[in-house]
Symmetry: D2
Subunit: 290 residues, 4 copies
């Protein structure tokens, strides 16, 4: 693989690890926005952003890119990094990669003639992120439950990307895994992968026996009628992004513990997550021929 | 589940087992075209087709439906069962389900006002069929190789439906599984499922070490340049439908054994295959509200 | 199974759960020594020990039985429960079951004509306890490491009971597991179970690549020469009872993080552990024909 | 590893492959007794046995050594190889390794001052041989049954070496595995490994539901009372050495198909079996310091 020149601007621990990993592969790496990272960076920080961006081929921003559509997420930086300032400095042939680049940022990039790519839109990134997400959920369950997952009955709601990896890992440590789906073809896959298939309209028959329920579906699937069937000792972990998949108010009234766990990859395994970002950046480069 | 009235016309051992299984679920079942099945049928055969079709709600034909677009595949029947005769007898509210209903047969059905469904177009059927396909391939490999699959290096070409199930099962019996794919997201899945990913352009680097190669890709991926790297003791099993994925002539010249194995489900596990057909027929009925 | 009469005296949360579980199986259960358990006991505590022991067939004490050879481990009790007082009350036909009944306690029991059984000497108990031990170690590793276990290189030192279950579970969540053993037959089992075998004298060749090392061997296997090869980011978890398997002083000097984790079953999964105790008590009863 | 000089005398295809494999590791290898092996031997056969044995450090005979206590098993040899002739030629410092060296042969060896080792007494050899044994049984089941093993109910009788590997592999391809044992500690292991434990006196409750039963216990466990509960479509594979574990006469009367499959490693995977022999020979040498 040919080496290239990268600039990392802002982001959390994952981007620190990403910068180091890209550097260790033999690439040149400039960094900006990590002064307070609080540990020995192997790479020295550039003095100003202009110098950092310079003639890099790839400029990598935070995941997610921004919270306010104005400044980059840069928790290790003292001041503010204006997004339009970044785009102003960047040249036409430079590539901007970051996470959750929304419509507003996309428009801004276009206005400055910057080619931007949302790394979280990449299918392989979404697939790889299921691994730390599943492990994070398993860790949470182990911490909260007074029973082992091995031998427990676990219901996984949804057999999308996260549901698949979660079902596999839970089976791997010996849980008795029930995977819910609403498509007949997913039911077939669940069977092929050796889990117990639960067709959506059979949920009410099995939910009462579960020791742990992990939801991956981003709408309220665990409503009053299902929650009322859940055992009092059962733990619910909701991995779905807003609005989540649980009627949280009702669950609380019923005395059922629910943990809403979001953004697990960066929290539980920042180094692994950085490795996935690196791999995906390299894939983008290979596809684009940068 | 409500019971219904079915007619089974023609087909191989799978349809015999299917008729029995549907009957054991409490349904009424007429059969026609199985006189020479050569074993005690629990169900008596109807005298003529008109009587067999009668007022059934669902008429199930062979998989595949026909070889010549004229008569049904009916290996256990003495005479010929004309497809247009079947359609002529059927009434508007009866459903015709069979396998590989091509354009010509579809047109014919429409001409006779018959609603036909190709069961092999159903995604869940395709998924379930990967199970006997994978087991059949594993059985073949065990029969042919003087080594155990456990501990062997096995390359699975293609990570579509069959590739997924095959990779999982081979890993399950302890083979060292290399799964090839050409999409980065499939490479990510292969990693998540614990197999060794092989990106398509790295094939040449690993193919020489393999003890077994199983192809699932329906175009010539194993061409001269790759075949020349394959070891002489390596077995190749090709599961891809015509034209297959191997340059068979070149393989023969090189002294590499290739087995082209098609239609495994009906051959290696007719009873299981019949069970899958039954499940899929029930799914169709549930969706259509027949 | 016939029901019987049990008395539970002292012990931690496991014995609370054990009492409840035995009761839910339809047995009579007296309890003593749980007044401060701090939650609603479904069973009312007996007023005095004499009354609690009464005519029960089986008297179950703590795991471990005692720390000072004088009083029972009874963290939920206000006063002290003298062991000789328990034995004095017990009649000849009553069975005393507890954990780690050492020589001194055994002699005491004999002096009082009490038949005592150490439940931790039971092979099935030791086997079952490997499950929460392994899960506890996995939870610890997940909490400490900034990488996922999936995809990590993990070395398990020792292929005894804990080593076996740990290797299996770690493989199940997708770690790359290296299992060390010093017997050729264990090396063969490691191969049969699909892990990477490491013969003891090859340790030095692989130890430097590991992300996690879990020791199960109760003597100093990780000495200076091996510790010096361990990577700085590698985590060591020592599950071996005293004196442990790591030169802790040397590890600290080298800046390697070591966690010495003992008695995990009661800590991480008291309800599961109670279930195992119950099963083993039932096995003892079946064998003895009590 | 230091290279040595070996002589291979007699034996089946495994010894042919063994000779080649030892040779490819850089050792000197003489062979005698393979003239009719019917394929290009990479190694030329010695003219006479005296010359073949010569000054080799290790002389390897057949597995099993002999059928009549007089001559070596040498299916690829024209004449007879007298065992006492072999021992007469061998010198004191030469090691004789073969399979199933019974008391009579052991005495003979001693009389000639020959140090003999039965490779089938080696624990690691027994463990490794479970792999081709299990795969052979799985292959047989796949060939005989009209259903896939995936999704089938399979009962493994006995949880010794073969029972363990078989249970693991069957689970790996997706069978629903019930493992029988009579020791509580084995029941605990079966649970830890994720199979369904069947305590011996519960056999009668589950045996009727099985699609496949594989026996590994060398005494008649499947007697009339159990056989009468077995379903007519169930296949029984008996892997136990004489007298086997099935009342074969009664099974036949009941119309239940039983296959008695012995010596699978050499039959289904001679090359793998040869590899295991090689590894075990090397282990012996390492232990003895030859």
């Amino acid at each position: 693989m040919n080496t290239r020149k990268y600039t990392l601007i802002g982001g959390d621990l994952r981007n620190v690890k990403l910068a180091e990993a890209i550097y260790e592969d033999g690439n040149q790496v400039n960094i900006f926005g990590f002064k307070n990272a609080g540990f020995d960076m192997k790479l020295p920080e550039n003095e100003d952003m202009q110098e950092a961006i310079d003639d890099s081929q790839i400029v990598i921003g935070p995941l997610p890119c921004t919270n306010d559509n104005e400044v980059l997420n840069a928790p290790f930086h003292d001041g503010k990094i204006q997004i339009n300032e970044v785009f102003r400095i960047m040249k036409k042939n430079q590539l901007f990669i970051a996470g959750k680049i929304n419509d507003k940022i996309t428009h801004l990039a276009k206005a400055y003639n910057v080619y931007s790519i949302d790394i979280l839109d990449r299918e392989e990134m979404a697939v790889l992120n299921t691994i730390p997400t599943a492990e994070g959920a398993i860790q949470l369950a182990m911490e909260e439950l007074p029973i082992t997952l091995n031998g427990s009955k676990v219901l996984v709601l949804g057999y999308g990307r996260v549901g698949k990896t979660l079902s596999k890992m839970l089976t791997g440590i010996g849980a008795d895994v029930y995977s819910e789906a609403r498509k007949f073809s997913d039911i077939a896959w669940i069977r092929a992968y050796g889990h117990k298939p639960v067709y959506i309209n059979e949920l009410q028959n099995v939910i009462g026996d579960m020791n742990l329920i992990i939801n991956t579906i981003p709408y309220t699937i665990l409503d009053t009628s299902l929650l009322e069937k859940v055992g009092k000792e059962c733990l619910i972990i909701d991995l779905a992004s807003k609005p989540g998949g649980v009627d949280f108010v009702r669950a609380k009234e019923l005395g059922i513990k629910v943990i809403w766990a979001l953004s697990l990859p960066g929290k539980v395994a920042p180094v692994t997550a950085a490795g996935y970002i690196k791999q995906t950046v390299y894939n983008i480069i290979e596809e684009l021929g940068v």
